[in-house]
């Protein structure tokens, strides 16, 4: 029972962390139709920027400045890179972001070295908020929860309640119409991309010290974020939110539930012995494959429903 409660809490927290990253990606995709492979790279840059700023000025300054820097970088990438690639179609855009992710990783390696940098949780938040059956929940995890919930609310309100949100949504479906109404569509795109990049940067500021800030962080975080976005339905913020939570819970509970296909078969009266075909595979307990379940879920989702959970159009 106590394990269950702690696991629900863990799942929620992990899911919200995923959502912080995935929301920016979803935003960019829903507006521009670009699956941005470099999104996790901006997340990584956010963490490194925050590290550099916080060791000089302090964490709270970094919390503001680092996402802005990432946003600026995003604007530059959109204006000088993506827009050029866009002329050659969506595949070129995808490949461009893929190549960008590759280069950013190598550059980070070059600038900050291949090992982790000492980017730490600020002392103001480095205390235990409360304990559940003796398991401490740190104030920083509460902070993460708070920020990601605020982020969800802010994006939601921005898109549905503001004039800019309407322009953004209209730019997606009727770019020509919006342009003829006097709005600058390329600028809308730049703004959105910069916004998405800033969100990734914010996730980096917050996730970088909670997890570890190292050059492999983009490469190891990128796939799972993709999975969340694609599973939730490309371009759907609500779907992305639900998918983040699902993935958070799936991974958390997979660790706790110690069963394997062989156990299930045993319950059905089929004993798995080493001689059984694929015995090695059947005997794998759930915790061992926990981190791969999202990939499995994504593949099945796409095969059955290519638009994802709440997607509005096919992937």
């Amino acid at each position: 029972m106590e394990l269950l409660l702690v696991s629900v809490l863990n799942g929620l927290l992990y899911g919200m962390l995923l959502f912080m990253l995935a929301s920016g990606l979803t935003l960019i995709f829903s507006i521009m139709g670009v699956l941005n492979f470099a999104h996790a790279s901006l997340y990584m840059l956010g963490a490194y920027f925050a590290y550099e700023i916080s060791r000089r000025v302090g964490f709270w300054v970094a919390l503001v400045i680092a996402p802005l820097l990432c946003g600026l970088l995003g604007a530059l990438i959109e204006t000088y890179g993506l827009r050029k690639a866009h002329r050659h179609g969506h595949v070129a855009e995808l490949l461009f972001t893929f190549g960008l992710a590759f280069i950013v990783e190598k550059l980070v390696l070059m600038v900050w070295g291949p090992t982790a940098v000492p980017y730490r949780v600020p002392p103001e938040l480095d205390f235990t908020l409360f304990s559940v059956y003796g398991t401490h929940v740190s104030a920083y995890r509460g902070f993460i929860l708070l920020i990601s919930a605020a982020m969800f609310a802010a994006i939601w309100l921005l898109l549905t309640r503001t004039r800019m949100g309407f322009v953004i949504q209209a730019s997606l479906s009727h770019p020509d119409m919006v342009a003829s109404l006097g709005h600058n569509v390329p600028r809308v795109f730049t703004t959105v991309f910069a916004g998405g990049a800033a969100l990734a940067g914010l996730a980096g500021v917050i996730g970088g010290n909670y997890l570890v800030t190292e050059p492999a962080m983009a490469f190891s975080m990128g796939p799972i974020v993709f999975v969340v976005v694609v599973f939730g339905g490309l371009g759907s913020l609500a779907g992305c939110f639900i998918a983040s939570l699902i993935m958070g819970f799936v991974q958390t509970f997979a660790v706790v539930l110690d069963i394997s296909p062989a156990d299930l078969l045993a319950r059905l009266g089929v004993a798995v012995t080493p001689a059984t075909p694929l015995a090695e595979v059947l005997r794998v307990p759930l915790p061992r494959i926990g981190p791969f379940l999202p990939f499995l879920l994504m593949v099945f989702m796409l095969l059955v429903r290519p638009r994802g959970l709440l997607g509005t159009r096919d992937t």
């Binding site: 863990n10 070295g113 982790a116 000492p118 235990t128 570890v212």
Partner: protein, 408 residues
């Protein structure tokens, strides 16, 4: 590094009739990509140690020369690097990172030596720890100067203090981690029948971001100590999540001392994290040897990272002695002499190259991450302090190796 590479190019183009009077060691490790720094630091430390050996005369009146080849941590690339070394008649091949690379090289060297007996090479490693390399896959041409993971498991189990009655095992899910898990269980039964394994977990490498759920599970199990073969982010994330959730266990790790991990763990790991080491910067002061102290002091003065490869000096000295005794750099002769050879390292412990499987029996240490040291690690303010020393002969384990020796 660049000098070495340029040297390679010079050889490649046959521009200079290279003075064949130096004894060349071809080091292949990842020199580019995510593990480049490991490879580079390895080669720099090796160069530092070889310089010191060369200053005392080298072997057969010739000096040692290190030539590096990038293998990108890919077996196929390592085999191409081997080709390159053969082209340049380099007799000694050395690699550290990756048991996949080592397995490919053992196999590659074995076949090459059989197919081209005029240009044979000797291969050794100081970093690949998979037990199979000196058991099922053992080869006359291969020597290992590092313990196996089986020995690691034994060392960790024997380091558990008597008050620990419940341990949790958590290891990466591939051959290495699965072996760690199996061997830890075996040695627990052998040395500590009073200790109960409260849990047993395999995790995919580099895929888990949030270890909180594992921590919850460990906490629920009531374990007092954690034995883990995790490394890199998988290790630092585990320890971070544990200290943050207030998990009260000691972490018995294999790799917490390796590059970047101390930084990532930080002060939270004080007196809680234990690591297996062949060497650390503080040993010279603790165990007092003037020459060694000098070696460490000079290293710290000229390099900005931990001198974790100090034990390689004993390895090079063994190689040096073997060449001296064989009177030649012919790999077959050197290999023959190296079998069964012993020497003492700078701390006075014995190193022995076991003839039956070419597995070294060398001293090894359990250290704790603590504030109470002279040299800190990676500017964290904490460093490594030895709490337990194993002599090589104490770690001897049976081998299944059936060595095939060449006829001549």
């Amino acid at each position: 590094m660049f000098r070495c590479m340029l040297a390679v190019i010079l050889v490649a183009f046959g521009a200079a009739a290279r003075a064949e009077d130096s004894i060349r060691i071809g080091l292949t490790d990842p020199m580019s990509g995510a593990f480049a720094q490991t490879g580079q630091q390895n080669s720099q430390q090796a160069q530092y140690l070889l310089d010191s050996i060369n200053s005392k005369g080298g072997a057969l009146g010739r000096t040692f020369e290190l030539v590096t080849y990038d293998n990108k941590l890919q077996p196929s690339e390592a085999l191409i690097a081997l080709q390159s070394m053969v082209d340049h008649n380099i007799p000694f091949v050395w690699s550290n990172a990756g048991s996949n690379v080592a397995a490919a090289l053992i196999d590659g060297v074995e076949k090459h030596n059989a197919r081209d007996p005029d240009h044979r090479v000797l291969y050794f490693t100081a970093g690949s720890t998979a037990p199979e390399l000196t058991n099922e896959k053992c080869s006359f041409w291969f020597f290992r100067f590092v313990p196996t993971t089986e020995q690691f498991a034994e060392m960790l189990v024997r380091a558990l203090p008597p008050e620990v009655k419940k341990v949790y095992l958590l290891n990466p899910d591939y051959l290495y981690g699965q072996a760690m898990q199996r061997d830890s269980t075996k040695f627990l039964a052998q040395y500590r029948p009073d200790v109960q394994a409260a849990g047993n977990e395999l995790i995919p490498v580099g895929k888990v971001k949030d270890f909180s759920s594992y921590i919850a599970k460990i906490k629920a199990s009531g374990a007092q100590a954690l034995i883990t073969g995790n490394f890199g982010p998988d290790l630092s994330l585990l320890i971070k999540a544990g200290t943050e959730a207030g998990l009260d266990v000691s972490y018995y790790t294999v790799w917490a001392g390796t590059g970047g991990t101390p930084t990532a763990i930080g002060p939270a790991g004080n007196s809680r994290v234990f690591a297996l080491q062949a060497f650390n910067d503080n040993m010279a002061d603790e165990q007092g040897d003037a020459a060694l102290k000098d070696l460490v002091t000079r290293f710290r003065a000229t390099h900005d990272y931990d001198f974790d490869a100090g034990s390689w000096r004993a390895m090079f000295e063994l190689l040096q002695a073997a060449i001296q005794k064989a009177g030649s750099t012919d790999p077959a002769k050197v290999a023959q002499v190296l079998e069964g050879m012993t020497s003492r390292d700078m701390l006075g412990h014995e190193w022995a190259m076991r003839a039956e499987d070419h597995q070294v029996l060398m001293p090894y240490y359990v250290s704790v991450f603590t504030k109470d040291v002279k040299y800190d690690s990676e500017h964290t303010g904490l460093g490594w302090k030895v709490i337990k020393t194993y002599e090589g002969k104490d770690l001897a384990l049976p081998t299944t190796c059936k060595m095939k020796r060449p006829a001549t």
